[in-house]
Structure formats: structure tokens, C-alpha cells
């Protein structure tokens, strides 16, 4: 297999897996296809103790292909998930309709709160996730509309919202962002978005054109790590044999 065979989606899968590096025995809550592949890949490689669920109330004892049932090791209905959220033993990877440079995320609505121009789900678990445990974001189509200067409704809480005098914010951990263009964290000036790597074939200019704010370290960012042969085998044959990843990330 040559380097050229690796698809953009597969780079994203490895970048998503690396979000869970060192996570240990916690609950992974990926909310889309690529983060789900990432959590499973992490579990099959560096993070064997990671807990994954069937997306409903069952904790999976093994690591089945996406969409396939697997053996069960535990029960975690919604009520208990909220308990886990508050305990901090969780790393969620949410999507975002808007995401700003501090990690404020919107999945609720566009426009004014009392009369939005477009209504989505509501804040869901965003506020509680962000303030309780590691929270990352996956954006399958990196655009200036998603990576916006401001968000209309703050669901996930950005670093600029943290009150340094209130210890209740001490668990706020906007960990990482993976998009179809690159990998980012919030280690830029004033805890703003910083580029860790760009996927091979992506230019800094391309990211700049598709982002409404300045990303720290963009020009200095190196390429996203290439999947190993074993990682590619796991992605292609074990975790995602139906190539669902290609529906979320175009090549």
C-alpha cells in the first residue's frame, strides 16, 4: 500500500482516534461517524480501557463494526449518562452548526433567542458537557459559516466565558477540534484556536478562506500523521467495512 492510497477520511479517522490518546477508562461519546471510527480505533490500538456504547443505553464489551451489534458489558441509560457527565469520566465529540475561536459552540438556533431565523435542536447537553469534562468537536465540512466570528446561541462553553473567580469552571476542557481540513486545539493566545496539523493536500490558505477568524499557528502547522498499515487495516476491514466514512468526508 502506498501513501497515495490513504483517503482524507482516513486521516480524519486517525486524528479522531488521537483525541482519545491517554483518556484511559472513561466513556467515549462520539456523535458522528468519523469520531465513532476514531473512538473504536483508539480502543483497538492505544486505549483498550476506553468505554464505548451502542449509542443508546448499552456499553459494548467488544468493538464491532459501525452499525453492527456487539456483546454487551454494561447498562448506561440517559439518567446515568448525566451522572457520568457530572463525574467528569467522559470525553464527548460533538458536532457544531457554529464554532468560534474560543470554542463556543451552537447547535440550538440561528438568530435572536426569542425569535430565531432557523431552529435546530436546542442546547442539548452542550453546556453540561463543556463545563464538566473533555469536549471536542468534529466538523465534516470546514466552512466560514461553521467557524464563525461569534455564535448566536452558546451551547458548548468557550474559554472566554470562564469566570476565573468561580471554581465551578475548573473542569472546562475544550480539548480539540478535528475538521476535514485539519486538527486544532485552543492553545493559541488567550486560549484561542491553534492549528496542530493540516491534512495532507490542505493549504493554510484554504483553511483561512474557510474560517471567519484568525487561527493561531496556521502557517507553521505540519501535516496530520499518516495512518499506520495496521490502523488502515482496522479502519477498512474491522471498523468501517462499508466505508461510511466516505459519506461524511469527501475525498
Amino acid at each position: 500500500m502506498t501513501d497515495n492510497d490513504v483517503t482524507r477520511a482516513e486521516y480524519c479517522a486517525v486524528a479522531c482516534a488521537e483525541m482519545f490518546s491517554g483518556a484511559g477508562e472513561i466513556m467515549a461519546s462520539p456523535m458522528a461517524t468519523l469520531p465513532s471510527i476514531g473512538a473504536r480505533l483508539a480502543r483497538l490500538t492505544s486505549e483498550p480501557d476506553l468505554l464505548i456504547t451502542d449509542g443508546n443505553a448499552l456499553i459494548l464489551a467488544d468493538t464491532p463494526a459501525l452499525g453492527r451489534p456487539g456483546k454487551v458489558e454494561g447498562w448506561l441509560p440517559f439518567s446515568k449518562v448525566f451522572d457520568v457527565v457530572a463525574s467528569g469520566r467522559r470525553h464527548v465529540v460533538m458536532g457544531a452548526n457554529q464554532l468560534d475561536k474560543y470554542g463556543n459552540q451552537n447547535i440550538s438556533a440561528f438568530g435572536p433567542l426569542d425569535k430565531p431565523t432557523r431552529q435546530m435542536f436546542g442546547v442539548r447537553g452542550g453546556p453540561g458537557n463543556a463545563i464538566n469534562h473533555a469536549t471536542s468537536y468534529w466538523v465534516g465540512k470546514h466552512s466560514a459559516r461553521v467557524f464563525s466570528e461569534q455564535v448566536d446561541v452558546v451551547c458548548g462553553v468557550g474559554y472566554d466565558k470562564a469566570d476565573p473567580d468561580n471554581p465551578a469552571y475548573r473542569f472546562l476542557n475544550n480539548y480539540r477540534v478535528v475538521s476535514n481540513l485539519g486538527v486544532f486545539d485552543y492553545s493559541g493566545p488567550g486560549r484561542t484556536m491553534h492549528a496542530l496539523s493540516l491534512h495532507p493536500g490542505v493549504t493554510a490558505e484554504q483553511v483561512r478562506e474557510n474560517t471567519s477568524f484568525e487561527i493561531d499557528g496556521l502557517d507553521a502547522a505540519g501535516p496530520t500523521r499518516e495512518p499506520s498499515a495496521e490502523e488502515l487495516r482496522l479502519i477498512r476491514e474491522v471498523i468501517d467495512p462499508k466505508s461510511l466514512r466516505d459519506r461524511e468526508v469527501a475525498q
Binding site: 439518567s79 448525566f82 425569535k115 442546547v123 453546556p127 453540561g128 464538566n132 469552571y169
Partner: protein, 299 residues
Amino acid sequence: MAQMRDKRRSLDEAVAGIESGMTIGLGGWGSRRKPMALVRALLRTDVTDLTVVGFLGPDLGLLISAGKVKRAYYGFVSLDSKPFYDPWFAKARTEGTIESREMDEGMVKAGLQAAAARLPFMPIRAGLGSSVPEFWGEELKTVESPYPAADGRTETLLAMPALELDAALVHLDIADEHGNAAYTGVDPYFDDLHLMSARQRILSADTIVSTEELVDSVPQQALLVNRMMVDTVSEAANGAHFTFAGGYGRDEAFQRHYAASAKDPEAWKTFAETYLSGDEADYQAAVARFTQEQKEQQA
């Protein structure tokens, strides 16, 4: 010998005590094991100005479609599968016709826990720093911990107010005539908390059987609801339709039909006449015809 109360009532009798302006909690989650037959019974009343609380989906949507909702307390409103966003909720929000008390999902649980425990509030971190307080105006307060943190500083938390319910409507899979009930699916959701937070406790179930049969048919841990949590129990086969319950899946084709119909006033008029103009038996018969037509079209 004195007999234990028989709490069986018709769906219409069960909701007869709900009055305009009341606050009602709806059990289930998104588009899962929702008390849809009870909601449909509410649609047949002239009740208006309801405040609705819960992990909401098309149950809220249907109540909005009939102009019955003044305010909603929710973490989300979701159909859980395509097209995901409830069209009636979206319409009410974008037209500004309902008041929204939007909050983190965990805050809904905390508010019900406070009400069930007869406490004024429950402290919670979730919501701090987010837009949640802006949805509440002066209604949502913070509270300073009376206990200093390890570093001597003081933690300020949200004081989630008790979500006290005038009535709770929940649908379980199997019950007895006294109001003991079990779920046969994988998740209890928050139905027990809804019932414990309410003055009128209204239960429906797909089947009502003897206590002995109820207890024999499920693992004992699935007996989520006991009779001291329930005032009335109504038999409603397929009563969570078109959401799923323990005994049947979500009717995806019908949910899509609901969502598509809501997009157009003429289509909705037809939908309401076809499905919502009669009683529950009429509804289920119309759904059976819909399903038959779907099959014939596919054949």
C-alpha cells in the same frame, strides 16, 4: 375484604383534569416511548396555554400544532431520526409564538429531582457560561456554595428551580389496574421522576394485565413505576405511536409523513382530518390504512 383501587380510566377521562394554563410534564425522550395517546386525548380537549416540560419531541409538536402551548421547558426537541428537527416546534420558535425556557439536558433532570424531593432548587454546574440564562430572564438564579472550595474560594452554581408539574403524562409498556408498571425497552428515561414531580399522575400502557402477570412478564428491576406514583392508568395499545416503545419500533414512514405534512397548511389540514379528528381507535385505524398504503406502493 376491602379492595385495592382500580385506577383504569379511558384516555379522555384521564386527561379531563388538565386545565388551561397548567404545567404538564411529558415522559419519554425525543421520539421514544412518548405518551402520544394521552397527547392525542389532550388534542380533543379545549385546553390552551399549557406549559410543557420534558425531553421533548413530536409530543410537543402536536400540542403546538393545535395551539395549546404557551411555554416550553426543554433541553432539546428532537425527532431522533430524519428529518430530526420537529417542524411545529421550529415554526413556533421562528414565529416567536411560544416562550422558551431552554436549558441543558441535565438541568431538566435536576429540576425534576428537586420537585420530586420537594426542594426549591438543585445546584448544578451545567448552564454556567452558556446562553441558557438568557432564555430565562430573571427566572433562573445562581447560588453561592456555603462551603468553601479546597483553595478557599467560593463556588457559584446555577440554582435549577424545581420543575413542579400540575400533571405528568407517561407511557409504559405494561401495567396493572392499580398503576404498577414496567418498561420492556432498554431505557427507563425519566418517567418515574415526572410522576414524582406531579400532582396529577397520568399513566398509559400498551397492555393492562393482572399484577401477577405483570410481575411474571418482566425482570423485577423493570418495575419502574409503583401504584403510589399513579392516579389513573389507561390502556392504549400502540399508544406511543409513532414514537417507539418496548414492544414496537418507531414508525419512521409515519414520522416522515407527520413532518412533511407540517410544512404545508393544506397538507396539515388533511393530516389533522385523517388522523386527529376522531378518537384513539379512529387514529389507530387510520394509521393501519396508512401502513397498508405504504406496503402497496412498495409492492
